[in-house]
């Protein structure tokens, strides 16, 4: 097949995307496909039209690549593409919207409030910070509504830290969440097709086991796959993750991030297009399921083109 590989882009996750794209490109060539690599730029549509690909492999992360922008263009051009559709991308990209949908489906997610820059700047929303803190509790996590990585995330332990934490979060998006800090085991459930792959656990390294921000700092944790979970707990985590994936309308593949608290799993967010580098969590989970990187890429392509 001729595959248009979309990589790079203008989001803050451009670097990861280029590495995902590089690895996927190798796999596609190994599989005997013709690869036409494209960055996002003014010539994107004309290049897609002139190269007439059978399918587009989207190895983009963050705004524009993971939020439905590129997906909507591909639909107009009639080019099938990998990963979730336009609406699912939009739902996952907006963490606040995603949590409302999860809650409507009766799925557990930590309590939160959402602030917009406009609300604070123009409508006096800052006078509700105390109410917000009383509602979600301390410590809490401030994060931008739409970033996929650890950028812009701060842990708040007292009310007075809210302005600084919100300035940081609002540097990455015009809306930010204040979310209850839930302690527990950090799990990632990658879903491929309609199946949950083996659960990956992020285990904070000893030196920062009590550091709140370690959860969001890549390299501050080691990964175990499959996670060491009793069967009953594992089933519950997988059930909740698959339900979240479906509730948000995902298809193809995605990754559901979950905290396993004392009273059960809570969904933090769903990454519509998780990292696809050699060391990313989805490829690790696929490997634990007996699928090497090339096989995983082939499966993702099949799910996009419907040739299973």
């Amino acid at each position: 097949m001729r595959v248009a590989l979309l990589q790079g882009g203008r989001s803050l996750e451009r670097g990861v995307s280029l590495r995902s794209g590089q690895r996927v490109s190798e796999a596609l060539r190994d599989l005997g496909h013709e690869v036409v690599a494209m960055d996002l730029g003014p010539d994107l549509v004309s290049r897609l039209e002139s190269s007439r690909p059978d399918v587009a492999f989207i190895a983009l992360h963050g705004t524009e690549g993971e939020d439905g922008t590129v997906q909507a263009m591909l639909e107009l051009l009639g080019i099938p593409y990998t990963g979730p559709g336009v609406a699912a991308c939009q739902r996952c990209m907006d963490k606040s919207l995603a949590k409302y949908i999860l809650r409507e489906h009766g799925l557990p997610t930590p309590d939160w409030v959402t602030y917009s820059e406009a609300g604070i700047r123009d409508f006096g929303a800052a006078s509700t910070f105390g109410t917000a803190v009383r509602r979600v509790g301390l410590p809490l996590v401030a994060k931008p509504a739409s970033q996929g990585s650890s950028l812009g995330v701060k842990v708040v332990t007292e009310l007075a830290q809210i302005p600084n934490a919100l300035i940081t979060a609002l540097s990455y998006d015009d809306r930010a969440l204040l979310e209850t800090w839930v302690s527990g085991r950090e799990l990632a459930v990658s879903v491929l097709g309609d199946e949950a792959l083996p659960v990956v656990e992020a285990i904070p390294t000893e030196s920062n086991a009590y550091d709140f921000e370690a959860r969001y700092e890549i390299g501050a944790a080691s990964f175990e796959c499959p996670a060491d979970l009793p069967e009953e707990q594992r089933d519950e985590v997988e059930r909740v993750a698959l339900a979240a994936y479906e509730a948000l309308g995902c298809s193809g593949f995605s990754r559901v991030d979950v905290i396993l608290a004392d009273d059960g799993p809570q969904v933090l967010e769903v990454n519509a297009i998780p990292g696809l580098t050699e060391t990313s969590l989805l490829p690790q989970a696929a490997e634990a399921a007996g699928m090497d990187f090339d096989q995983m890429v082939e499966k993702i392509l099949q799910l996009a083109t419907g040739d299973e």
Binding site: L12, R14, V133, R134, S171
Partner: protein, 411 residues
């Protein structure tokens, strides 16, 4: 970069629509193309076989002799045999660190320091201690305190790394008095000083100061130089001037690393410098960079928020600016990138997270209209963030200490 996410963020600066004030690039657009063609023609006629061959590890004698000339232009007299040619100044930093540092050894350097030196020092597992700079460069009183503290622990710095002239990233220059005192300390305490001097010839105004090397006579000072900022960064030619025992180790280290610096680029640079045309070229660069510095400083005065501070360097490539304390330069970079403008956030110039509100801005590699536009956009996002912060902290609730119930709210 401290985190991989921050490193990834900088990838966007490579996109064509981004005005990058983050680089340290010389402007190579005015290099006379006919001079380039002449050198290539000469090579074609007389030196093809030679430039396609390996060369001596220490570097070609022609280039070493020209380095002697370039250093003499700054009043520093060295012998060609003491010069080792390196593949850019970065390899010079790497080699001297490789040769001198064992894991755990202390390196003392400027605060802030050259962001590209930090990964090198860390890769050899050095214990990096940074000494604060002010408008006159590294504070020697604090350096003495640092050395005394180390001595009390039974330790001593393996070397002191400093960029005394038009410092990267601070733009400041070590005063004559401090230069003398630094050299005295080096001699009294028998501590090596690594003087990194990529920008000395790019002086826009004021009188040149003697290099540390010339004040010391080459006993305790190792000198690092480069053609990157006065000719071309793409040729990858730098150098080290060291006392003989160190030079022998450096040459062994270089042999292990890359055998020799490109013979072709050494031939090109050697003959270009021998023609004497470099003096005129550097003078042109100085004019261009001075004008760009003035444009940048003017734009900052117009667009940066009240409470921001910056210096006006007398030479070099960089201005160091500090925003009001409540702003983080890393957050500001995220905002600025959304407006297609980039800079280096301050924490990159420290090993310990300092510099949170500061940024390094490059004026040499960007045209004047883009400098103005870039500074305007940075100023705009900084003002917006400050205004938002003020809005958030001026409510009754945030002015008062949190109520007792806040800390144990139900969750």
């Amino acid at each position: 970069m401290r985190s991989s996410a921050m490193r990834d963020m900088m990838e966007i600066t490579a996109r064509p629509e981004v005005i990058s004030l983050a680089g340290g690039l010389p402007d190579t657009s005015t290099f006379p193309t006919e001079a380039f063609a002449e050198e290539m023609h000469r090579i074609e006629k007389t030196a093809v076989a030679e430039v396609l061959q390996y060369g001596p590890t220490e570097g070609s004698m022609l280039v070493r002799e020209q380095i002697v000339e370039v250093m003499a232009a700054e009043g520093t007299n060295v012998e060609a045999r003491d010069v080792t040619v390196t593949t850019g100044g970065q390899q010079a930093i790497d080699l001297i660190t490789k040769v001198l540092i064992d894991p755990g050894d202390v390196i003392v350097c400027d605060a802030p320091t050259y962001p590209g030196a930090i990964p090198t020092f860390c890769s050899y597992e050095a214990d990096v201690r940074q000494v604060e700079c002010d408008a006159d460069g590294m504070r020697i009183d604090l350096l003495e305190e640092t050395i005394a503290t180390l001595e009390a622990e039974g330790r001593r710095p393996k070397f002191i790394y400093s960029i005394p002239t038009f410092q990267n990233p601070g733009g400041v220059t070590l005063s004559l008095e401090r230069r003398r005192r630094l050299v005295e300390i080096a001699q009294e305490k028998e501590i090596l000083v690594i003087e990194d001097n990529p920008y000395g010839l790019l002086r826009f105004e004021g009188d040149p100061l003697p290099t540390l090397y010339s004040l010391d006579g080459g006993n305790y000072v190792v000198y690092l130089g480069t053609f990157s900022k006065i000719l071309s960064a793409g040729l990858r030619i730098g150098w080290l001037v060291t006392p003989t025992p160190i030079r022998e180790k450096v040459v062994l280290g270089k042999q292990a690393g890359d055998l020799c610096t490109s013979t072709l680029t050494q031939d090109f640079a050697g003959h270009f410098f021998a023609s004497g045309r470099w003096r005129e070229y550097v003078a042109e660069l100085v004019e261009i960079y001075r004008a760009r510095r003035d444009v940048m400083v003017g734009a900052m005065a117009e667009y940066f928020p009240h409470g921001a501070t910056w210096n006006k360097p007398q030479g070099g490539l960089f201005i160091w600016a500090t925003m009001p304390e409540v702003l983080s330069s890393e957050d500001l970079l995220a905002k600025a990138l959304s407006q297609n403008v980039a800079f280096v956030p301050g924490p990159n110039a420290y090993v310990d997270g300092r510099g949170a509100s500061s940024m390094r801005l490059n004026f040499s590699g960007v045209k004047e209209d883009e400098i103005i536009e870039g500074i305007r956009r940075i100023g705009q996002v900084a003002r917006e963030q400050l205004k938002l912060y003020e809005t958030m902290t001026s409510t009754d609730e945030m002015r008062l200490p949190p109520r007792p119930g806040d800390a144990e709210a139900d969750s």
